[in-house]
């Protein structure tokens, strides 16, 4: 089974459009203690999506791993340790990092660390026949209604309409 390192941004969209249980059929989830603390803080200040993610932590569906190189990456790219923690995990373990953060994505591409996002993962789930076309389009619309970048969703939508599977 593939493994996915979770950044807070992607995990929030996973909960907003109800993707977690579908993704768990294809990926196992890991993240850093820093991300866990951040999501816990979100729960404590009343964010419902954070509460839903905490439920998955409590159910043991998300493993916590500490990276060795977070400090080095933080210094090298002058980024916050929480940002570096998930990049380092994905880099060290060879896993995909799921993030909606442009800066983090940019650094992953520089470091040749595998990176993905919610819209691309939706396409993956469509390829795996988790959702029929009509439902995928609804989920893409739901992403946009929840503040997601419309341009990315349109690209994914076009790919699905053309019936393109990345082979």
């Amino acid at each position: 089974m593939n493994k996915l390192v979770l950044n807070t941004s992607s995990s929030l969209f996973f909960t907003k459009i109800g993707l977690v249980s579908h993704l768990l059929k294809h990926f196992s989830f890991v993240t850093s203690p820093e991300i866990f603390s951040e999501i816990k803080e979100g729960e404590e200040i009343g964010f419902k999506d954070a509460r839903i993610m905490m439920h998955y932590f409590e159910a043991g569906k998300i493993s916590l791993l500490t990276s060795k190189k977070a400090g080095k990456i933080s210094k090298e790219f002058k980024i916050k340790i929480t940002d570096a923690s998930v990049i380092a995990l994905a880099q060290e373990l060879g896993f995909f990092l799921a993030t909606e953060d442009r800066q983090i994505e940019k650094i992953c591409l520089i470091m040749q660390t595998k990176v993905t996002n919610t819209a691309v993962l939706l396409h993956y789930l469509w390829q795996k026949k988790e959702f029929p076309d009509a439902q995928i389009f609804l989920l893409l619309d739901l992403l946009v209604r929840n503040g997601y970048n419309k341009e990315i969703c349109l690209k994914i939508r076009e790919k699905i309409i053309k019936g393109e599977e990345n082979v």
Binding site: F13, D83, Y148, K155, N166, V167
Partner: protein, 100 residues
Amino acid sequence: MSEAVYVRFNSEELTFINSISKEEKISRSEAIKKLVDYAVQKLKIEKSLTNYKDGKVSIREAAESAGLRYFQFFDILAKENIIGTNAEHTELLLHYLDDA
């Protein structure tokens, strides 16, 4: 450390400040301070949004410079519909998962 600053307002601005002072039953100085605090916060958020959109900072860094928690800033990004990585990288990211 605080400092007193002398500022000249025009009549329209003064009328507005006086109306805030009267409505909220606060002194004119307190009304001016309230307006300045409001503007500072708004500008911090605007600047953070711009820096995030330009790819200069992460969501976390932008939230910190706006004086907000991660989730609060995330909500603002969502309202502006600007969450999501660079759309130009979509094809590349699709191919990454291809090999998975």
